[in-house]
Point group: C2
């Protein structure tokens, strides 16, 4: 791949279908000049969608397929569609080197299984991790990983996640030395499980890595913006992420109820509309779209199933950044550095 | 103990000190007629605080001690203060049968360690659990347990937590057959760890218990009000609870920022003040105060360290309910019933 990477897009995944994926790619190209695309899916639908985006059409090749992975497909069923589906062919394009990275808004479990099987884990990484960006009160988002790829993890897995998450934070957010912490049930050294304590000891002793290890972080501090990379196993991460999502929705639902509870409140709400729109914007997942599978030989981005064109554009943008800045090489270097110290 | 129980109060714990604990006890007595108290701590301070509450004074005995457990005491240090501290003597009153239950706003780890050592786990329960009530969008709060007493749990522990949590929900919220679910990373039967799947299988097969087992619940549904008792190990529970607390604060902080971002928003905020006060009231931990240690030979309630008098009154009220309705007997019966079926 050249300096301006080509991104393979699974045009058939996601609730919004082909039009949203194509509109997202077009929007990303406005931000990321010279970006090229491989659109994978139903050629007729893709061509129709491209009619609205002549700028994109010129930079795009199409791979036609009728096959799709559905939201109901179990990972094992999806793997049988690896060769015929838009998702499978998008990943295959990365494997063959025809694309630098792939973006899909489809079934997460299927994408993870296919990507892992086709691309394999990169040298030095035992297990890939799913990482996402979440909003904070600070100057930048926070990277959280793993978010569901690995229910059980050992200390080595967590250390590798910390190294990969730090490379992601440097690439996606332009940080020089991201602050890294392990999610735990307390901040004292003796808190938590053996696995977490061992991972902390290893990260504490590692010198010269482009990250600042800050020890443990508790669940109530995740959105404070004081840490840039939060590391956990896929079980804890899923619990934390979903508890955060549910609570954000809970509070905004309560707010909606409160604001519609009287005429006076309704008037107040209308007047302060710009304020609540600001809140909505800050919490809108489309502004933080794109979970990335780290640790594979290739970049695969998972866009929210319900992402709109702006959300897809964000995911494509992050994918292009990761490809251009060669996150795989960054992780390899950090791993080698870490190994040399702990050997 | 008689029909109107006597509650032992650790008068020295909590950020607000003696005055808040005594005011809380007085407020609880207005709601719970005939309630009696044992106030444990510095006699001079307690007597001074009682001057404002003649109604309470008549129903109160005082146990004087100079010793206190501080917020910094590790559980091991606190255990050495078991005999001389206000916290230790309040628990001791429960052990001797001088009080039906104890309430403290002091150091949680210390309270847990002291209560466990003094009262021991009840027959049939392997480990006690810390349970709390959280607000929901539904008609009642939700019970979550365990919230930190046990980092690692086996399937039997989780089943016992479900039985204890269900008894708590019946007592504290007046539900007949609470809906019970296990916290997991998905709702399908094969999701999660072996421990969680085994616990689910055991609860699914149990018939005739006064609860409705609903399978798994994910982190984004905790506040929906569709489940009354959510069961998890202390690690996951800590992560979920703190993620919820942090996110509630995050969203309300964003809201405050948004509302103060322009003059127009400020005006809107002032007009809709009753609405935001309603939100504040709903999220105020004082309205859901009182985490209970379930599974001991005696009732011990942990009130928030920062609880105000209304919060302490809520904790005392819950404690009195648990004593009057004899939660220990309820749990014993359900356990026997469960054992008879699975034997």
């Amino acid at each position: 791949m050249g300096l301006t990477p080509r991104i393979a897009i699974d045009a058939m995944g996601g609730d919004g279908g082909v039009r949203v994926m194509v509109a997202g790619a077009a929007a990303a190209r406005h931000r990321h000049d010279g970006l090229k695309f491989l659109l994978v899916g139903d050629e007729v639908q893709i061509k129709a969608a491209l009619d609205n985006h002549p700028n994109l059409r010129a930079a795009t090749d199409i791979i036609h397929t009728d096959g799709i992975v559905t939201g109901d497909d179990k990972p094992s069923q999806a793997l049988r569609k690896a060769r015929g589906s838009s998702m499978g062919l998008a990943i295959d394009a990365v494997k063959r080197g025809d694309a630098g990275g792939a973006v899909s808004s489809g079934n997460t479990g299927a994408l993870m299984a296919m990507a892992k099987l086709a691309l394999r884990t990169m040298p030095g990484i035992d297990r890939p991790a799913l990482a996402a960006l979440l909003p904070t009160l600070g100057d930048n988002d926070v990277v959280m990983l793993d978010l569901g790829a690995n229910t059980d993890c050992d200390a080595n897995n967590l250390v590798q996640f910390a190294i990969m998450g730090s490379a992601y934070a440097r690439t996606a957010m332009g940080l020089k030395e991201p602050r890294v912490a392990l999610l735990n049930i307390g901040t004292e050294e003796m808190k938590g499980t053996d696995v977490i304590r061992d991972a902390a000891a290893a990260l504490r002793s590692a010198q010269g890595l482009p990250m600042r290890f800050q020890g443990f972080i508790e669940g109530d501090k995740l959105s404070r913006g004081e840490i840039d990379v939060i590391v956990h196993d896929g079980f804890s991460g899923n619990i934390a992420l979903k508890s955060m999502e549910g609570t954000a929705r809970f509070v905004t639902d309560l707010l909606r109820r409160a604001f519609t509870s009287s005429l006076r409140s309704k008037v107040g709400f209308l007047i302060s509309r710009p304020a609540t729109e600001l809140l909505k914007h800050h919490l809108d997942p489309n502004n933080h779209n794109g979970a990335v599978f780290l640790g594979l030989n290739g970049v695969v981005l998972k866009s929210h199933g319900s992402a709109n064109a702006a959300g897809v554009a964000n995911a494509v943008h992050v994918c292009a950044e990761l490809v251009e800045k060669d996150i795989t090489r960054q992780v390899t270097e950090d791993l080698a550095n870490f190994r040399a110290q702990t050997a």
